[in-house]
């Protein structure tokens, strides 16, 4: 019991001790950081989505849609337009009301489709391992925006916010999970909250962002063998020069 009590009393440790919380020792002697190139560069992203609107008591919406996102940097993107059509199926509640209590509810308006535009902030980039074998790259983002919802009785404005997770499959393809909470004012009766969960496949095109200029990076093409030529002029096998930076794989080919 003592063993149990001790950790519980250390609730103070709930405060995240995140990785960069460098202790005094580290401050003294530096810190190690793995610096890796980001393998994927999003520019023009076209997304196809399937989703669900699960919260309404009377119906469940199954959505199909898509979006276009313009990536301005690795941090900020503009989901210029998104459209999701919702096909709704009853939850069986109406039938239950009728069967058990002989009550027929007045029909509430249902979501038919959603149109929006969002700012996407992607502050988190990282990687995941699947059973500690393969590595998947991914990012977590937050979408904030607004637009309109077409209900069965007309249009309503909407504001929405929600997190998302992207897993990269390759430079072109990535998969996304978005959970967006949409607030649509139902004047004068109140505020309708619509939860929209989507799974998407995204296709990325382009290599230079609107905010970037095309720069040809200077590549050092020396291989080190030049120094051998200089130090030992006769050492270069006649007529054969090593191709700069050639790897074994290339040589195998």
């Amino acid at each position: 019991m003592k063993r149990l009590l001790l950790p519980l009393t250390l609730v103070g440790l709930l405060v995240p001790t995140l990785a960069s919380a460098a202790d005094e020792d580290e401050l003294e002697s530096g810190r190690v950081i793995a610096v890796q190139p980001r393998p994927f560069h999003l520019v023009h992203e076209f997304t196809v989505s399937a989703g669900v609107l699960p919260l309404d008591a009377f119906y469940t919406g199954f959505s199909l849609g898509g979006s276009y996102t313009l990536h301005l940097s690795d941090l900020i993107a503009w989901e210029a337009i998104s459209f999701h059509y919702s096909a709704n199926t009853g939850t069986g509640l109406e039938g239950e009301l009728a069967r058990r209590w002989s009550v027929a509810p007045t029909g509430d308006p249902e979501v038919q489709y959603l149109v929006g535009s969002h700012v996407i902030l992607s502050p988190m980039f990282g990687k995941f391992t699947l059973f500690n074998r393969s590595i998947l790259e991914g990012s977590t983002y937050l979408g904030i925006g607004g637009g309109t919802i077409r209900y069965s009785d007309g249009f309503r404005p909407q504001l929405s916010i929600g997190p998302g997770l992207r897993i990269f499959v390759g430079q072109v393809v990535s998969t996304r999970l978005d959970i967006r909470t949409t607030f649509a004012p139902d004047i004068p009766s109140g505020l309708e909250v619509v939860l929209h969960v989507t799974l998407s496949v995204s296709f990325n095109f382009g290599s230079v962002r609107a905010t970037e200029s095309f720069e040809e990076e200077e590549v050092d093409e020396t291989t080190g063998f030049e120094a051998l030529d200089e130090l030992y002029p006769l050492s270069n096998p006649e007529g054969v020069r090593r191709s700069p930076g050639s790897t074994s794989e290339e040589e195998e080919k």
Binding site: L8, A57, R99, W101, V103, P123, F125
Partner: protein, 226 residues
């Protein structure tokens, strides 16, 4: 040994083998080039979890829940959630209020889930980290699980409630955010199929869907590497 006993023995042996295999798996050979991480920063052992949550899909009563659970982690991948007990505070929806006020429906007709006791097996296939603005590194894991147990429907008195027990099975997905060796946070979404018996005359035997969303704080106790 009866056939049933033999089957049970085989099942137990298989289960044991599975966990032992997992145990060996956890002590991965650092020189195995197929592995991605040689030494994981966070390793779970005995997890005690306190959760607050919601059962949002019942049309008549939304449940706000509190849960306590204990999970034994066999290795970095397999765990057994030995028990999770949950109690719900039920909040009436407008629809239920209308039915009671306008149509004089008795309050005990609705019987949303009030208590829950489950056990389950969990798998953590995905573990990883993300850098927040290239600075703080946040460690995370994704959990999937299969659960089973009983749900007790609210029938007013405690005796009646315990009498309305509903065998339930479900699956779930969870997300863990590690903050220290001792503490991590979890978000879980579980969906149960609950076999609801006809207790009252206007009820029929039916399968009820119970969506259960929780946010938890987990304490990782008695680690081997502590």
């Amino acid at each position: 040994m009866t056939e049933r006993q033999a089957k049970r023995a085989v099942f137990v042996a298989l289960l044991f083998a599975l966990f032992n295999e997992g145990r060996a798996w956890a002590e991965e050979d650092a020189q195995d080039t197929r592995i991605a991480i040689q030494r994981r920063r966070f390793n779970m052992a005995h997890e005690l979890r306190l959760s607050l949550g919601s059962m949002p899909v019942d049309a008549f009563q939304k449940g706000w829940t509190g849960s306590l659970s204990y999970t034994q982690h066999f290795n970095n991948y397999f765990a057994w959630e030995v028990v999770q007990v949950t109690a719900a505070a039920l909040v009436s929806t407008n629809l239920r209020d209308n039915l009671i006020d306008t149509f004089a429906v008795p309050e005990e007709d609705f019987a949303a889930p009030r208590f829950m006791a489950t056990t389950g097996l969990e798998l953590t296939p995905i573990y990883g980290k993300q850098a927040f603005l290239n600075d703080d590194v946040i460690y995370q894991a994704l959990i999937v699980g299969a659960y089973g147990g009983v749900i007790f429907g609210d029938r007013g008195g405690i005796g009646d409630t315990l009498g309305d027990f509903r065998p339930s099975i479900g699956g779930g997905i969870g997300y863990r955010l590690y903050t220290s060796d001792l503490v991590s946070f979890r978000a879980d979404i579980r969906d149960f199929l609950s076999f609801r018996r006809a207790i009252q005359t206007n009820e029929t035997l039916r399968l009820e869907n119970v969506l259960f969303i929780t946010l938890s704080v987990s304490f990782n106790l008695w680690r081997d590497d502590a």
